[in-house]
Symmetry: C2
């Protein structure tokens, strides 16, 4: 290998990025060194700042450098409608679809007893506390339609049974634009069991 | 958009990387924030160090934080055989093929009068100076087989005509594993005009 030691270390460091292997990292490192050193410096600065200062919203646990995130602070959001998701990326996907105007609660994972992730790690007691306050009318559980996501959804529904709050689950089925022919069995099962009457 | 301002700035900064759009940058930023803050800090450190300290070898212009790069310093490399390439990435590709044991000269581009890139910008006088010293026996011109690369190769050959040095050009033709059917006309032209006698 003819890369200089520092370049080599940069290539190694770039492979921490998801989906970036050694070959792509090498291309990135050489590109930055040859064509955009200022961009590289700026990236280093932003990385440092974000890694040190971005924390979690104390209420919904979305990434935020302030104690309360933009969504929780926003008075025009419906504070009686709460969407439970597994990760900040999931919340972001819901946000970007524009289909939800309530607030969020991020579990930061799903129940996974083998990995030592139980209800405490997911902060489900915080969720229960908020339901107990009586301000929330509906909790939409939008965990992923995986075994773990379903188990987590059922656990949440059980935990909230005693409160005056509607607990709902997002619909699973054939995605818009999808074709039956290429849809997996699990999704088809959901699609059939979740069928609706046509009026 | 529900990303916090700092996260947003990190996403923007990540898009300086080649081939990384906003969507991928967002996935990378969230991944680092959620799963690998230490990796992110380490990346920031390596980026800073590399951007500030990696320069160019004074002899061959390959990236190096020392005045002379590893290849130029290596006594087991053939100092009488010099390969001219357009970029450090090209030199790296040749290095990784293991087919060359001489030293390099990186032009950092190709002749492109419209962009104001002439022989001075490519350091061709440095190359001529080295040829004039008489230590180099053969100069292999490995610029890309593009119009600009070919023009650069011819310019270099002309500049070196007066010296006692063999100037050669790497072969162009059908790549190993390639098929005639899917080869473009330009490459086929090269392959036919560069044909060899079978012994």
């Amino acid at each position: 290998m003819s890369l200089s030691p520092l370049t080599n270390r940069l290539v190694e460091a770039l492979t921490v990025l998801p989906g970036i292997g050694r070959k792509t990292a090498q291309r990135m490192a050489l590109y930055l060194l040859e064509h955009n050193r200022n961009g590289g410096r700026q990236l280093a600065k932003c990385l440092n700042e974000a890694m040190e200062r971005v924390g979690h919203c104390s209420q919904c646990r979305i990434h935020s450098e302030e104690p309360l995130c933009k969504i929780c602070r926003n008075p025009s959001r419906d504070q009686s409608l709460l969407c439970v998701v597994e990760s900040p990326a999931d919340a972001l996907a819901v946000e970007q679809s524009g289909s939800f105007k309530g607030i969020y609660f991020v579990l930061m994972g799903h129940l996974s007893p083998l990995d030592g992730i139980g209800p405490e790690q997911l902060g489900i007691s915080l969720l229960v506390d908020r339901a107990a306050k009586g301000e929330i009318q509906e909790i939409i559980v939008a965990t992923n339609p995986t075994v773990e996501g379903e188990a987590t959804a059922h656990y949440i529904a059980d935990s909230l049974r005693e409160f005056e709050v509607t607990v709902s689950r997002i619909a699973h089925g054939i995605p818009v634009g999808g074709e039956l022919e290429y849809t997996d069995g699990g999704t088809l099962n959901y699609a059939f069991s979740g069928r609706k009457h046509l009026d």
